[in-house]
């Protein structure tokens, strides 16, 4: 962490920016609930900054826009962490000036000078454009006026500049708010959606595959706080898959303040199913009991929905028939954000969120020994009911829940064993 408070020197990890303008997603849609969502988002940001940027900050409100200000310049790590805060559409690294054109010009010149020096090394002329928006209508000059005035003076100050209104190399955006003018050239894309926790809590069924982490990410965007459940089929699979799952959870834990991972022992239940069920039904019975266990666990930890990575038709257990049957095992809503996605789309998202490289590691979470060669795609309902009624797995389910291991992963990826995590939390 850069602790030098007086010098202007920046290390490779610090940016020269001390102010961040927030673009909050969907705020206009919220109406009367605006304050609720805003508070959730700002609290999330405050907690994040406390961790990543432990210096005094202030969150300033100016004409419906929010700006974070600090004496200390922000580090790249902090900005990266902010880009994973649900509810933030994007944020811009800004400089502010007083509400007058001259002040604006000198601030812009100061900002541009080092920037141009680095760009000029190409030898070529640098094209630019000024775009002004005037949120505060009380300002003396109109947007277009400000853009032309600023553009004109910048051309005079920097001979290497040239105007290009179609495809400028440098786009200078100016925002005129009520108390200050802000301008910027850099905007960082965020997650968007609605803030973490504003939609409630859910339990996500995580495998080590590509799909479930992407499903989780999509639901973070909709403001769901998530705990994760992983069904560990030891001794049919080994312990190495736990490392893989933990790596995935660490990546996903960046989207909320605190994450719990529940590792549910599933080997014995699988053994019972394999002993008693018709081979073609093994996979959907595994799914069935996973969902039953997930429901029991979700109830205990006060989650109100389950999230899975199902996509329609991707594998045999994901036909309409199978999905419908499996839905009957729980009265909790099962959210399937990937239901309409194709595999390439899912893989692309997995790349974007950084879970692809982990999911691709060949540690199976399901043992190929137990998989039937021809899993049923259109299950016979009567057999399904018959199995549930006559093969009593309730005792095994309860043991599994009792021996579930709980890990807590914090924002920075630190893991701690959390005994009693799976206990009643209502």
């Amino acid at each position: 962490m850069n602790s030098d408070t007086t010098s202007q020197k920046t290390t490779p990890d610090t940016t020269p920016y001390r102010e961040i303008l927030l673009n909050i997603d969907e705020l206009s849609l919220k109406g009367a609930n605006q304050k609720f969502f805003l508070n959730k988002l700002l609290n999330h940001l405050r907690a994040l900054l406390k961790l990543y940027h432990p210096y005094p900050i202030s969150i300033v409100h100016d004409h419906l826009r929010y700006i974070i200000k600090s004496e200390q310049p922000f580090e790249k790590d902090t900005l990266a962490a902010m880009s994973r805060v649900p509810g933030l559409h994007s944020f811009s690294l800004v400089r502010s000036s007083l509400l007058e054109l001259d002040a604006l010009l000198s601030a812009v010149k100061e900002e541009l000078a080092p920037l141009l020096n680095s760009l000029k090394d190409d030898g070529a002329v640098v094209t630019f454009k000024v775009e002004t928006t005037r949120a505060y209508k009380g300002f003396a000059h109109g947007s277009y006026e400000v853009s032309s005035w600023l553009g004109h003076h910048l051309l005079q100050a920097f001979p290497s500049l040239k105007v290009d209104v179609h495809k400028p190399r440098l786009l200078i955006k100016v925002k005129i708010l009520q108390r200050q003018i802000y301008f910027f050239t850099k905007t960082i894309k965020g997650v968007g959606g609605i803030p973490s926790g504003s939609s409630g809590d859910a339990l996500t069924l995580l495998s080590g595959g590509f799909d479930s982490p992407v499903a989780s990410y999509l639901m973070f965007k909709r403001g769901l706080n998530q705990s994760f459940a992983f069904f560990h089929a030891y001794p049919f699979v080994g312990d190495e898959v736990l490392d893989k799952v933990l790596s995935i959870v660490k990546k996903l834990s960046a989207y909320q303040l605190q994450t719990m991972l529940y590792i549910v022992p599933f080997g014995e239940i699988q053994r019972q199913i394999v002993k008693n069920a018709r081979p073609a039904y093994r996979t959907i019975f595994f799914r069935r009991y996973m969902l039953e266990l997930a429901t029991m666990l979700a109830t205990k930890i006060a989650a109100s929905a389950l999230i899975t990575g199902d996509a329609l038709g991707q594998v045999a257990s994901q036909t309409l028939g199978n999905l419908a049957l499996v839905n009957q095992c729980t009265n909790m809503p099962i959210l399937r954000p990937l239901i309409g996605f194709s595999k390439p789309e899912i893989l692309e998202l997995a790349q974007d969120i950084g879970t692809y490289d982990i999911s691709v590691i060949p540690q199976d979470d399901a043992c190929s020994l137990l998989a039937d060669k021809h899993p049923v795609t259109n299950p016979y309902h009567a057999y399904w009911q018959h199995f549930a009624k006559n093969i009593f797995l309730q005792g095994d389910l309860e043991i599994a829940l009792k021996t579930t291991r709980c890990l807590r992963v914090d924002w920075m990826g630190k893991v701690a064993e959390w005994p009693n995590g799976a206990d009643e939390r209502n």
Partner: protein
């Protein structure tokens, strides 16, 4: 608990444990120190050295024996010197087997550059192949007992053959799995160097040894230089407590009578296991015979070995496997290929290894559990 992985590591011999604990407390000085504490430790280290030479009938006029930290270090030392340098007959090929321990195969790959001639890879028994290869050989790396298959090579006979043909050809023997288990004699002084390991014969981890023919010492290139310890052949502070512990183990296990008695006992265990397992689970294959009774490699078709290992460990039975079960990992194991095991079976190999501490009851218990698990899993497929 039933522990059948002694080839990987075996518990400390009770006398070794006792000695080690005592030494850790009292024998803390540096044997290279000039004062009395150091000198007395040094003297005792020398006594243990004599013991090791005696154990393999090596005459002090013929051989040096130095302590290293591991058998891997000892093997690396020899390979680096011989293969990486110009010892032995110049510009000749180097013979070893791909089935040898990685500390041999990997180090040869690492230091056997193109200027040292082609390394000949071979599988199966060395004796048969040797006749064709003797001409143009620079060095031969033998392993007395293969750590995976348990196959025994008659290293004394092979060394004689090689030396009769050309005394300059360098002969190294890896005896990590055979020391104190299979007889080895350096009386004839035909073998140039031998590697042994403490933790495979009741000694502690962190110490091992290298016999080196004195005639070769003049051209020897040490791996570690510094304080001149071990007759300037291997610099490092000598690990007195570990050496004394190992010495205690070897004085118990190294005598000819002890060796033969243990050999007969473990042979009985091995035979019992083969018989019982063949009866209860007939599909299990035993690809190797005339092996050290201390090691037994089996192939369990249709069920991946790591699933078997996990089911066995649930019942506190421990055996070795090397396959990683994943539908995406190809799993061709070079060692197994070199030993002639078909690719499709590489994920089905288990290695059991014994010590005189194992009992017949354990063998029977193992077979019972293994059969139980195997049949259960077979039903699932």
């Amino acid at each position: 608990m039933i522990y059948f992985d002694h080839a990987a590591s075996t518990p400390l011999h009770p006398l070794a444990l006792k000695q080690y604990c005592e030494s850790l407390a009292t024998d803390f000085a540096n044997p290279s120190s000039a004062h009395r504490l150091g000198r007395s430790l040094n003297k005792r280290v020398e006594e243990v050295r004599h013991l090791f030479l005696e154990t393999v009938a090596a005459r002090e006029v013929d051989y040096d024996f130095i302590f290293t930290a591991s058998a891997t270090e000892a093997n690396n030392t020899i390979v680096r010197w011989i293969v990486g340098g110009s010892e032995g007959k110049n510009d000749g090929r180097i013979y070893y087997s791909c089935g040898d321990h990685p500390s041999i195969t990997e180090s040869i790959a690492r230091w056997g550059g193109s200027n040292n001639g082609r390394c000949v890879e071979g599988g199966g028994k060395l004796d048969d192949l040797l006749d064709d290869l003797l001409d143009g050989l620079r060095a031969v790396f033998l392993i007395q007992v293969n750590n995976s298959s348990g196959v025994i090579s008659d290293v004394e006979k092979i060394a004689s053959k090689i030396k009769n043909f050309c005394p300059d050809i360098y002969v190294h023997v890896d005896a990590a799995q055979s020391f104190c288990k299979i007889p080895l004699s350096l009386r004839k002084a035909e073998i140039d160097s031998v590697t042994i390991s403490a933790q495979k014969c009741g000694g502690p981890k962190g110490v091992a040894g290298l016999y080196l023919k004195k005639k070769r010492v003049s051209t020897f290139s040490p791996l570690l230089v510094g304080g001149g310890q071990e007759h300037a052949l291997r610099a490092s502070t000598v690990n007195a407590p570990a050496i004394f512990a190992w010495g205690a183990a070897v004085s118990a296990l190294g005598s000819v009578s002890e060796l033969e008695q243990n050999y007969r006992y473990v042979t009985r265990l091995n035979d019992l296991l083969r018989a019982q397992l063949s009866a209860k689970v007939p599909v299990v294959q035993f690809p190797f015979y005339s092996c050290s009774p201390y090691i037994l490699l089996i192939i369990a078709p249709k069920v991946a070995s790591d699933i078997l290992v996990r089911h066995l460990e649930e019942r506190e039975i421990y055996v070795a496997s090397s396959a990683a079960c994943s539908s995406r990992v190809k799993g061709e194991n070079k060692t197994f290929s070199a030993m002639g095991i078909a690719n499709s079976l590489h994920k089905h190999v288990l290695r059991l290894s014994f010590s005189p501490s194992n009992t017949e009851a354990e063998i029977l218990e193992f077979v019972k559990n293994f059969a139980d698990i195997y049949h259960q899993l077979l039903e699932f497929t």
